[in-house]
Structures are given as structure tokens and as C-alpha cells.
């Protein structure tokens, strides 16, 4: 059984078919890439998986059970976390607080105890903070824990997005253009980080990326979308030489 399986996933916005009959399956432990030109429907695919949109037709299965129609917070609880293409941090919260928000989905102490400031709520707060702090160490953000997230440099904001998504302890991590806007050095660092995360946390990663060097180096399987249609699927070598992909996206020189 695949970890994530899309079968004929389709969504229409009026006359526009943003994602048209897309099928692929992500196995446990995969480093899976989703590429294609702008407007190909990659982010829409993420939105379908995470419950932001409900597919018009087709099915999306996670660990064998149907996902479509599940609200985003339930999807996160089931074990799928994501980052956003245009960074969406909780800007006025600190770096640590951003991560604690995501770790909070495993809270066990009910709200009234917190309103009364009972020891159980204090202990839980400490526990979640400690968990979040460990993740910040992994992503090398621990020294900035008390900084307002909006005040972080751009590359760190991207890393914080990943830390925050990981705090939900997902089985499947969706990264939406994690290397966008990064310089080559930053993007190389990120490459190592993503590999490390996958090994140390036994996570499956599905990522959207335009940086071909990044994708080809990192991913073991790739799906290519164009105008909402899936045009190719396979390992990097196949994709690099696939005539349709070259025509639609990569161009001759790659």
C-alpha cells in the first residue's frame, strides 16, 4: 500500500481545469519531486492533498484511507504537514512560538486547565517548548528562538517553515518550493538538511521545486505537470531526457 496515492485527481475552478486527472503514488521513504512550469497546478495539487480544496473528481488516499473532504487541520493530524510557497509564518510570534503552534496538535491538557494555570498546563507548555527547541536545533535556528519570526533573514524563514511543519511530526512532509529565492550556497545547505531530515526522522518527502539542480540531485522519483496534466513520471534520468518534458519545461540545454 502506498503512503499517498492520487488517482485521477481533478479540480475545476469554473472553466479552468487546474489539475486534470493526475495520478501518482508516493511510497514510504520516498524523496519525491513535483515539477512543471508556472501555473502547471503543482501548488493546487498540494492544496488538494492538504484539504484546502476538495477535488472535483478522483481520489486521494493516505495510508489507504480517503483524504478528500478532510479539513486541513485533520489532514495535519493524520500526518501530512506542509510548507508554503509564499512564506506564511505567524509573523509577530517568535521563532519558538511558531514551532510550538504546530507541536500543539499533540496537546493532552484541556483548555480550562490552561485558563486556571494549573500545573498540568504549565508542564505541558514546557514539554511542547522543549520539543520545539529540539527541532530548532536540528534546523540550526535554536539561537534565534526568541526572535520575532518576521525579523529573521529570508533563508532562515524558509528553514523555520520546515521546522514548523516537522513539529506536527508528519509521516509525509510536503515542501512547496523550499529553495525559492535562495542563493546556491543556501540551497546546497538546504539539500543536506532535507536529506538529513529524511534519514533521522524517517520521513517521506514530496516537494515542488523550480531549481532543477536541487530536484535532480535530491529526488529519486519525479512527476512533471503541465497545464494541470501529468506529462511524465519516473527517475531523474528519465525525466531529464523525456522529450515532452524538454519541450514543455526544461528546454534543450539541460
Amino acid at each position: 500500500m502506498s503512503l499517498l496515492q492520487l488517482e485521477g485527481a481533478t479540480i475545476r475552478f469554473g472553466g479552468l481545469v487546474a489539475v486534470n486527472n493526475v495520478s501518482f503514488s508516493v511510497e514510504k521513504g520516498d524523496l519525491f519531486g513535483l515539477i512543471g512550469p508556472n501555473g502547471a497546478g503543482k501548488t493546487t495539487c498540494f492544496n488538494l492533498i492538504t484539504g484546502v480544496y476538495k477535488p472535483t473528481s478522483g481520489s486521494i488516499k493516505f495510508r489507504g484511507s480517503e483524504l478528500s473532504g478532510t479539513p486541513p487541520n485533520k489532514v495535519a493530524q493524520l500526518g501530512i504537514a506542509r510548507t508554503f510557497q509564499n512564506i506564511r509564518l505567524f509573523q509577530s510570534l517568535t521563532v519558538l512560538e511558531n514551532v510550538v503552534v504546530a507541536a500543539y496538535l499533540r496537546h493532552r491538557v484541556a483548555l480550562p486547565s490552561a485558563l486556571l494555570y494549573l500545573p498540568s498546563a504549565i508542564a505541558e507548555t514546557e514539554r511542547l517548548k522543549a520539543e520545539a527547541m529540539r527541532l530548532l536545533e536540528v534546523l540550526d535556528l535554536d539561537r534565534r528562538a526568541q526572535v520575532r519570526s518576521a525579523d529573521l533573514p529570508y533563508g532562515m524563514q524558509r528553514r523555520l517553515e520546515i521546522a514548523r511543519a516537522m513539529a506536527t511530526k508528519p509521516e509525509l512532509l510536503l515542501l512547496d518550493e523550499p529553495a525559492a529565492g535562495m542563493n546556491p550556497q543556501e540551497s546546497d545547505d538546504l539539500l543536506l538538511t532535507v536529506r538529513q531530515i529524511r534519514e533521522n526522522f524517517a520521513m517521506t518527502v514530496l516537494l515542488i521545486e523550480h531549481d532543477m539542480r536541487f530536484v535532480m540531485n535530491l529526488c529519486e522519483k519525479i512527476v512533471v505537470l503541465d497545464h494541470g496534466i501529468e506529462i511524465a513520471q519516473g527517475p531523474p534520468e528519465t525525466i531529464r531526457n523525456h522529450p515532452k518534458v524538454i519541450e514543455a519545461y526544461l528546454g534543450e540545454a539541460v
Binding site: R82, F90, L93, V101, L111, L115, L128, T168
Partner: protein, 392 residues
């Protein structure tokens, strides 16, 4: 160390309320009434801050929840008091609980549309809801229609009002100092991202409305039993706006800011009633002096980036310059017989001055008195530390 500290702070809060009560016995009825009403405004402002400032749901119908609480307590007291065999404080507690419950139900009704509406649209719905409540009440015979209703028994204590204000502040503060407050802030910051991180946005919004409106209901029950009279006129749209102003002025999301702003905004216009009449000359001089001072302060805010101590000297300088200019101009205009002979009563000017102060504050400090900070020893210390860092 947890329980000793906890018990000590609870005792201190209760003791402080009784001390305030004892002190308030020494002043006249009018002054005591102001102390009580200030406490009620603190509850309203801090509870709206939970909905508006902390959770970011722009609600401007808070007076409606206040009214629901007041009329629930009022009506039940008039109808059932003396029949259930309880009186005094227990009765008052029961009325507060039922007022809170009914207001929370109303909060739920408004909270539900907020799940689909954002920003301005939610504001319009809450505004409309507030008016609907007021007009529905105004047309009910058992509730005294537009004349209002007398509430018996009265329960006039300073301590209970301020104890409730402290409870309201404590609940909000406890929320923010545990991890449980973070989902509320996350919803304010970015609903989509919050949802993607597993925050149940629906539940958070409804909870904020429930708690916030319940406290407004408590404030209503307290008001009804203190004044002994309630009418729809007391809960007009303007009241909602004043509560909102308190929240914004205090610094959106800041609990201490909401508290300070509530007391200040309530006291200022009340105290201006007693001010002596002013002559046209003094008024004109004061106006020009104020404008000059505001312009000078605003220039420092916008353009001065040096050390804090330099900024502070400039602020003080600007204010002193404004005062000196006001006095000088006032004396100068006093030479003109027409201006000197005209006299304006403070009673008529007070709302103008109130509005003027609001405009000035929003010009100089749009983020509110405290911004998103809380007033605490740590915050003051951090300010001092920053100053030292800049000086070094």
C-alpha cells in the same frame, strides 16, 4: 513552590479588592460609582481584546453581549428574586453566572458566521447583530421597552466588580502564558497556515467568542445590579465603539494595554465634567499649542533614530514648548476683548477633547499605548537594556 505562589496571588487579588472597597467607602457616591464603572469597562475592554486583539476576529458588537448579560440578570431578578430562597451574594453570583451563560449563547450565534467571514465583513455582521439585540429588547413589554426596567435587589459593591475584572484579566493572561494561547494568536496571524499546522480554526474562534462574550455578560449583570436600572439607551452602538477604541488604543492584543486604556478612556471624559469653564482666548491658545506640540513629537517619532534618552529629551522639550506656547498665546489672545469675554463650559467641550486625544494618540502611536507588549517589570527592564545597548 507552585501552590504557595498561586494561593498568595489569589489572596492578594481578593485582599486588594476588599482594600479598594474599604477605601471607596471614604469617597462620595459619584466617585465610588466611577470606580465601579471603571471596573466594568475594564472587563468589557479585556474581554473584547480576547476576541479582537488576541484572536483577531474584528467584532464591533460587544455592547450587545453586555446588554444580554444585563437584561438576563435584570429580568430574572425582577421575576424570581425572593422565590428561590437565596439572596445577597449567592443571588448575585447566580445572576452573573446566568448572565454569562446567556451572553455566551449570543456569542456562539455571532461566532458561527465568523467561521466564514473575515475582517470587514465580520465587523458588519457583529455590528448588525448588536443593533438587532438592542432593538429586539426595546420592543419587549416584559423588558420595559424603550423606558428600560428597574432592577431589584441592588447589589452595590466595589470589590465584586474589581474581583471579576481581575478574574477576566487572569483568564486572558493564563491563556497567553501557556501553549494553549498560541493557536489563538496563530489564527490572528494566518488562518490558512494555522489550519495547515493542525489548529482547529473553527474551535478557536468559537471559544474566543464564547469566553469574551461570557465576560461581557458578567459585566452586564454587575451593571444592572449596581445601577438598579437598565435601558436600551445604555447599550447603544457608541458603547461598542468605545470598547473597541479601548482595545485599539491600549495596543491590540495587549491585556495590560486594554486595562489601562479602559480606565483612562472612562475616567478622562468623566473627570472633564468637573473642569472649570475656559475663555475663548485660553481655548485658542491651547489648541495652537497642542497642535505645535503634536507636530514636534510626530517629527521625532518619524525621523529621530538616535538613542532613547535623546528621543525622551525631545519629547519632553516638545511638550514643554507646547505648554509654554499655549500659555503665552492664551495671555496674548486675552488682550482681545471678544476672545477674553467668551466662555466655554467643560461639559460641552469634553467629548471634543476626548476625540482630540484619540486622534493625537493614533497619530503619534498607531500601534496603541503598549503596542503588542504587556506592561511588566521584564518589559521595563528590556527597554532600559535597549537604551544601554544603544548608548554603548
Amino acid at each position: 513552590m507552585y501552590w504557595p505562589v498561586r494561593l498568595a496571588s489569589i489572596l492578594a487579588a481578593v485582599g486588594g479588592c476588599f482594600l479598594l472597597d474599604a477605601l471607596a467607602r471614604g469617597v462620595d457616591d459619584y466617585a465610588r460609582r466611577l470606580i465601579v464603572l471603571a471596573g466594568i469597562w475594564v472587563i468589557l475592554s479585556v474581554s473584547l481584546n480576547l476576541i479582537n486583539g488576541i484572536t483577531g476576529q474584528f467584532s464591533i458588537g460587544h455592547a450587545a453581549f453586555w446588554q444580554v448579560g444585563a437584561y438576563t440578570a435584570g429580568y430574572l431578578s425582577v421575576t424570581f428574586h425572593g422565590k428561590w430562597g437565596i439572596d445577597g451574594l449567592p443571588w448575585m453570583i447566580l445572576m452573573m453566572a446566568l448572565g454569562a451563560l446567556m451572553a455566551a449563547v449570543a456569542g456562539l450565534i455571532v461566532g458561527l458566521p465568523s467561521l466564514r467571514l473575515r475582517g470587514d465583513y465580520l465587523a458588519i455582521v457583529t455590528l448588525g447583530f448588536g443593533e438587532i439585540i438592542r432593538i429586539v429588547v426595546q420592543n419587549q413589554k416584559p423588558l420595559g421597552e424603550a423606558y428600560g426596567m428597574n432592577v431589584q435587589p441592588k447589589f452595590q459593591t466595589v470589590w465584586l466588580v474589581w474581583l471579576m475584572a481581575i478574574v477576566c484579566i487572569a483568564v486572558c493572561r493564563n491563556l497567553l502564558r501557556t501553549a494553549h494561547g498560541l493557536p489563538f494568536l496563530a489564527v490572528r496571524e494566518d488562518e490558512v497556515a494555522a489550519g495547515a499546522m493542525g489548529v482547529n480554526v473553527t474551535q478557536v474562534k468559537v471559544t474566543a467568542f464564547l469566553i469574551g462574550s461570557a465576560f461581557a455578560g458578567v459585566a452586564g449583570a454587575l451593571l444592572a445590579h449596581y445601577e438598579g436600572f437598565i435601558s436600551p439607551q445604555m447599550f447603544k452602538m457608541e458603547q461598542s465603539f468605545i470598547i473597541l477604541t479601548m482595545v485599539v488604543l491600549g495596543g491590540t492584543g495587549s491585556i495590560t494595554g486594554a486595562t489601562i486604556a479602559a480606565v483612562a478612556l472612562f475616567y478622562l471624559p468623566e473627570r472633564l465634567r468637573d473642569a472649570p469653564p475656559v475663555t475663548g482666548a485660553a481655548l485658542l491658545g491651547g489648541l495652537i499649542g497642542t497642535i505645535v506640540a503634536v507636530v514636534l513629537v510626530k517629527r521625532t517619532v518619524d525621523r529621530f533614530h538616535g538613542p532613547k534618552i535623546g528621543a525622551a529629551t525631545r519629547y519632553i522639550g516638545s511638550v514643554v514648548a507646547g505648554i509654554v506656547l499655549s500659555l503665552a498665546l492664551g495671555a496674548g489672545f486675552g488682550m482681545i476683548p471678544k476672545l477674553a469675554s467668551q466662555s466655554f463650559e467643560a461639559e460641552k467641550l469634553r467629548m471634543v477633547i476626548f476625540a482630540g486625544v484619540l486622534i493625537i494618540l493614533m497619530l503619534i502611536r498607531p500601534q496603541g499605548i503598549l503596542g503588542t507588549n504587556e506592561f511588566s517589570l521584564d518589559w521595563v527592564k528590556s527597554l532600559l537594556r535597549k537604551r544601554k545597548a544603544v548608548e554603548a
